[in-house]
Subunit: 201 residues, 4 copies
DNA sequence: GCGTAAGCGAGACGGTACGTCTTGTCTTCTG
DNA sequence: CAGAAGACAAGACGTACCGTCTCGCTTACGC
């Protein structure tokens, strides 16, 4: 897992792409747990060292595989209403996590990260933190506009909105339906709406 | 992982206990990820086969190690107020997950279970389902007594209350403090209290 | 190359035999240099660890493969005349070294041993020393009987008789014919015969 | 191992020298077996390709390192007596082979050559054949002058004189002392001297 | 005296084999 | 005769070098 920090300028785009492609395909075929660096190297037609040269672990490769496509799918349209944007965001997050070509693998990455601080750090920096930053921004805007109670901690609202999605994915494995996403938002909103504007569905 | 279903009557209590003890100690020392069946067998002074005979996987052993002590610590005192019981329950769950001799290992078990359906099933049946059953019972009682809105799905309330704890443990690794537990309960309660009894702290 | 000194009693005769057989066959097919522990394990249907458990190196396996059959072929008939026995011995040694299923591999073993003291030691103890002991015995007997000059060092005579065979095998790669064996013996004998019985053929 | 036959005129004398120097030093430090082309290139501050451009193998580099200094040290003074020259030649050969900065490496080269015909050829042409040519010349002159029996094959005498040195270096690893060199010559001479002039020490 | 072709240091590349590790099964010996 | 001890087949691990292949750079011919 040592990195001699090779020169990124000379990196072979061909190999890079082949590795990500092979990793993605094998992950879909066999699942994250059965994936091996040997297997990726073999399918990509690449030396193992080429993988070790550029990634510190299997998880890091998979992070590269998934992070862009996930962030792209999460990108919320700006509707002008931060509350609507937030609801939309919960929906798309639920969709992505429910997608069987993504959700289980992200869950596995999360698992791997429990035992691999470097992977945990990268996962956080590239996936968790950016997503959360957007959530906090939306929440803060809503609070500023008086659409959400301002006396509740931003992080707490974010956790309450998104945690149930991960909880179902990882713990109860219950369905991550759009209805569920809606229910969460409704429930949380009704507790966090300003007193004068509490929705009463 | 094959089980020849040996006669449980002839099981050696001595070995059984030694295995659980060794597994617990090694788990504390090295962490779940570095734990091996070989290591457990060696420390327990037991043949590997004796472990494979009675447990299908490393995770199953660890489940045996942790499940009883966790459920014992979660057992809520019945205060007569289901809402208070529920709040207490969130608190004790947060405490258990925050306990560094338990939380990380449960997290690891959960991770392992993502790739091992048998382990997932057992984890669910012995830990997740019992705890959730109690939660649902408390919620339903509170709804019956009119202390919680009855038009919100029991599971949804349960998810919203407990998911943030797991989310912080697994994803954001933020602190699982009693205050956080309180905040969750407050927030969720304010959204799920009946209209006429909404708390307004 | 570490040996945990496993219990030889529990050694699998099946695997042991399969490994030696595979090593022999691959050695004949590809030659010693292209031989690989991986290859032997694969052909023998054996785990690599099983080879590493019982042999410290590739050369050690090959030594086991060849040592018995070589010593068997060298075993000289006792004709009653130590000089004749000695001559016969030079002949059989030349034959064995000239045998393309043995000579090149022994040469390679010798080469490997130059860089591997453990292998060198074993090669010496199991092959070189036993053969030399027999040579010295024959020479000493001949000296006692007055058939060889007694004022010449036993080792020197042994070296002079057998060294040219190895020299041709390793250095000049010239033919190791029976005639050559005879010529060596004749030449050396004519210098080492007692004055009164010098052959003059 | 392919050579695009580069232009020797443009060869960098600097690199050439650095490579030979690095190879020599590393060979002394680590021994021939642990020597690598990568290591030589690194120590010489040279690209690997520059080595592969001018030498087909590690052995070829080492041959260049040793061949000149060996031949220089073997160069016999012409005393007028071919027999004395021959004896002197056996002495210097023993000295060179006994030199721990040369002998073991030459032995290793010989070993490598067993599996590398190109190296074997070059080793023969540049080291073995020239030395042998001189030996044969001396022997033939001695025979012409009647100082050695003319009915014994030149090659046979050469083998008998020099083979024991290599034998001790490669096989028995016994001492290559001047006394040993003398003993060989004495013994062989006493068998190959003409009948009328046989020495009788 | 200028451009171009080569050699050069550097090092990424696809590979092979290494020796170690762990898994889950099978075998043997022992209390 | 149950179980500890541990050998076994399998195969992934991460490392070391292999020999080939670009890269820019610099050197020195030949036009």
């Amino acid at each position: 897992m040592v990195q001699r920090t090779p020169n990124p300028q000379r990196r072979s785009a061909r190999s890079h792409a082949a590795i990500l492609k092979a990793a993605y395909e094998l992950c879909q075929q066999q699942g994250y747990a059965r994936l091996t660096i040997e297997g990726i190297a073999a399918r990509a037609g690449v030396g193992k060292q080429t993988i070790y040269r550029w990634w510190p672990s299997k998880g890091a490769v998979l992070l590269d595989v998934f992070v862009d496509q996930i962030l792209a799918r999460l990108d919320a349209a700006d509707t002008g209403s931060p509350l609507d944007d937030l609801r939309r965001r919960v929906h798309t997050t639920a969709e992505v996590l429910a997608d069987t070509t993504i959700g289980p693998h992200i869950a596995s990455l999360l698992v791997d990260a429990q035992a691999d601080p470097a992977l945990a750090k990268e996962l956080h920096e590239r996936l968790v933190a950016p997503a959360r930053a957007q959530h906090r921004e939306l929440i803060r805007t809503a609070q500023d506009r008086g659409e959400l109670r301002a006396d509740i901690d931003v992080d707490l609202i974010a956790d309450t909105l998104f945690a149930p999605l991960w909880f179902r994915l990882l713990v109860t494995k219950a369905e991550l339906s759009p209805d569920f996403a809606d229910s969460i938002v409704d429930t949380v909103m009704s507790g966090t709406a300003p007193a004068q504007a509490r929705p009463r569905r």
